[in-house]
Symmetry: D2
């Protein structure tokens, strides 16, 4: 069904591009920030999470990112190295930027996350740091859309995508829209469209596709929240697969040859409201790389997401291939 | 030979996008700035010049630009209006930016131009100011590459190009590279490539194509200064025509169907070292819009350039259609 | 000995001006950041610490500062309110700045602190937020020198000092020099000298006075590290008292009438390398406000510092008046 | 009457600090900018004008300023050198700033001036460029208040003033308030007050003193436009003389010993609305340096202003000592 043409015989399975940072999770669950006594320390940031998900499943993965030249930056690097993530493309910045940091309550509802991303290290990545020969060593490139939000990271991400196209590396765009990073929604729409038109696979949720469509005012009216029309709009040129995530309603998957299928979620006891998307993307790519069919790969993505949200942390909660197999087995025999 | 498909029945022939400003030319010729007594005042800026060139030939033309809310901004607008340039897309900025300004010696050699473009009004143009329905009213969109050099003007230019593609407006990219406007040559290369891949016609000189090719290191080695290979690289997808200008050596013109021809210059007594390119682009587009063949249109461009540089000012030196016919006639009967 | 003229019958004893933020202390002691499992949450920032020190001793204290409009900002405010710190002068910023944040190892040696102060909320405080009538309600104004490091906080701090002079509020300048906040050491020297010349009491260590003297190159040569000459230089005009802190060597105190005395430290088992200075400043001001002699006040400052560093946290470790009395008593009867 | 103590035996009479730039005057008088054909080129900028005024009267004068590294910067320097202005303190900036530029209509009423001061070279001057030993070589330092408007020029100006105080160089502050250069009127008020308190002579008009008083809300109410009270407020500490200019109504002069006198204007046929203040300041300082009484010096300032505005240009219109003597003579014998 998918007509992705994945190159073989390359040193790396996937290179992820975008932020890597520190997540601080409140010790106490269901307690307001004022009354939290402290935090547990984890590595976070969507592309770093995806890299970890892939590595734990057994893929060879690299990360193009930037952290600050201090003990938190060293922590991020040493954690990723311990999971065999290749850091050839990791820049250490000593000009005053800081490693991306999120400090979060652990509440089922109204969970507030405070983000420290003023002069974020990852957004200081520039085109000059992107090495075409490194991109050429990977079968897939995963780009987090947040890397497109400001210059010079924007140009780093766009050039990585173009290098990938030139070297037949499959491009996966995870929209990962964070409004606060962008000058205006119109800018988001423009760059997401440019990046999507150069990507083989585009993954987002309905709200993210709405932002992407902002500049297509006519189309937007017609398609308003019509997933089929939205998908059709993007399935042109390079783009082979569009995956529209809808949280508890699962995902809709469209391919350029006009096919469509849906994948539900695996019901679990949810421990936290994040990590699902990154876990999904990691398992999806892993199984595509294994030669699995698109349907099977999406199903494994959904299972991986379920496992992740049923556990407390995020990177540490990414399942191994055995855990994923066990989960599917227990589910299917239940 | 050209397979440009120019729409008919539109209110405007061409919309030009980019800077419009003031040029101050030294009173005295061949005198150093220290000893110049004063300056003559003209409207300038490449896309404004091209708009004037088109208008004087008889085309209906609009300009998307921005000037500051002061007497110099008003002067630019009133001059353009007097030449019937449509200013629907002209923004008047009152936040502290200033109308682009160039102060120049008038010397045959080592002619120094001092550019005042810190917080330039035209670079404050943003995507929110670009109206898709306005772009849809024009047969052609001329984009000056300098508009791509910094945000938010960059996004304004890119979105205008995309709107043009969606509405079948023919896109002409005039590379117009000014190194001082860009963060890095790598950024220039990235955005010029993106813009070129969405343009029907790309016009530049050898140095400009070198900058565009910077990110194609392999290609660059191969093609180093090989005009044919450079042109072939760009003549893909949307791009139908590549015009490579070489000053006194004339121009090489390539089309996507693999054809190529050259056009020499019309020898005249040169009065100043600028204006040729804008005059060329204006006449080229005008004759394409008239249905002339590409060869004929390029020839008229070359003649118009010759007339312009043989006169002292720049906008005022743009020829009328009659002057152009007379010039060609006198040349061919000489 | 001191000729400070402290006003009476005012609603507040002290207003502190400068940063208030969050300190995250590593759970594990003597462990590198990479291996720390998490952090304990505390309120921090030198002027906030001093406000807490004063409040715990029984003074009526206000804080002029700014935090971000999020759960961490609310935490800082609610903690300070719970200790009866008046927050009339606290600004809540929602334009993208972030509450000052420090993440620290807990190591005896080479203890690294990672500071998140890009677009720090407290440095967004501007002159327009300083209310002269509020300053007039306090007997003393404590200004942290870091508030002088960048505009617009610099102007807020300078105007507060000038308002204090106009309304006979005693000004205490705690140099609190952090090189990373300043454009250049020369700028530091200029503003510290301006602020010191308008302050009644100046507190700093030798390294801080070295920075202050940078622009007095002649003087600097002469006095190089000569505490007596340095003090004499500052004891002019408004400045009545100069206190030069020297860590384990205690403090030297100079007054404008030419007197000088030294105060040693109270030896304790040190648990952490910070908090001493803030605890010292708080107790010093408190006892001056009680009408104690300068010698007695400095001694109580030293005792308070000793108590603070013998405890693990910083704000929570500030002693009450009873604890201070007990400490002195046990020390003197030991 | 004045108790200024002017040092003797110094290499320079006056050092002026602040902007030096280019003024472009419309060729045609009483014509709107749209219809002006061109401009005459002059050197301008208040402190540069004052330096020229002093030099033409026969004083030895230096200028601390900055221009851009281009032909306009070279023009400014070569013009000033030709008038024997010492340029030891002139910085040539090549980082993208531009020489201050003013383009003006020549109209009796509603004369619009367009100012190009985005990233102005003179405002890039920083404290590191101020040499105390150079300041020590001058009898007087003239500071233009506009140099205080933004960092790092602000710190350059403040440090120059402090160096002058340390080396007994007399400080003259010309308020020269331009609202567009400042972040807020409150900031203007703060720095003008700081600078005025360190100056021997303060020169401004009523509107400028209003801005200076903004932060003294109580005082402001009382004195609202009461020149005597305003002057009394500033005549403290270092400040010996306050001169309040009132255009066609002449000037009021106050000294710290409580004296006051007024000086009318010399009626002439006014050719342009600027240059008067700079000409006034230059002649005032020149005659003070000659040992003339304050009344005599102010009178010569008024005469010099009259001569300047009766001529078309600004720097070129500064009178020589002989012209000034002739003017006074003709006036007194008229």
């Amino acid at each position: 069904m998918s007509s992705l043409s994945i190159p073989v015989n390359r040193a790396l399975d996937v290179i992820c591009l975008g932020r890597a940072g520190v997540d601080l999770y409140a010790h106490e669950e269901n307690v307001d920030m004022e009354d939290v006594s402290g935090f547990d320390k984890h590595v976070g940031g969507s592309p770093a999470n995806i890299a970890v998900a892939l590595s734990k499943l057994g893929a060879k993965v690299g990360l193009i990112s930037c952290v600050s030249d201090d003990s938190l930056g060293r922590y991020v690097c040493s954690y990723l190295k311990s999971l065999d993530v290749d850091l050839t493309g990791m820049k250490i910045d000593d000009t005053g930027s800081r490693t991306s940091l999120a400090i979060t309550e652990m509440k089922a509802d109204d969970c507030e996350v405070v983000i420290y991303r003023n002069n974020a290290a990852d957004l200081s990545l520039s085109i000059e740091q992107i090495d075409k020969s490194y991109i050429a060593q990977a079968k897939m490139l995963l780009v987090s859309g947040t890397a497109l939000s400001t210059s010079p990271s924007r140009e780093a991400a766009l050039s990585a995508i173009r290098y990938a196209r030139e070297t037949d590396t499959v491009v996966v765009l995870d929209v990962d829209y964070r409004a606060y990073s962008w000058r205006s929604p119109e800018d988001s729409s423009l760059y997401y469209q440019l990046a999507a038109s150069l990507s083989d696979v585009v993954i987002g949720n309905r709200e993210e596709f709405d932002v992407m469509e902002l500049l297509y005012k006519n189309i937007n009216e017609e398609t308003a929240r019509d997933d089929d029309k939205t998908a059709a709009h993007y399935l042109q040129g390079a783009t082979q697969v569009v995956i529209m995530k809808a949280g508890e309603y699962g995902s809709k998957v469209y391919t350029q040859d006009g096919k469509k299928f849906e994948q539900g979620i695996f019901p679990v006891d949810v421990k936290k409201p994040f990590g699902a998307g990154d876990s999904f993307a990691g398992a999806l790519m892993f199984f595509l790389l294994q030669g699995a069919a698109l349907e099977e790969s999406v199903k494994m993505g959904a299972a991986s997401a379920a496992i992740n949200v049923s556990r407390k942390s995020c990177t540490d909660a990414m399942p191994t291939r055995q855990e994923l197999a066990d989960f599917i087995h227990s589910y299917e025999t239940a």
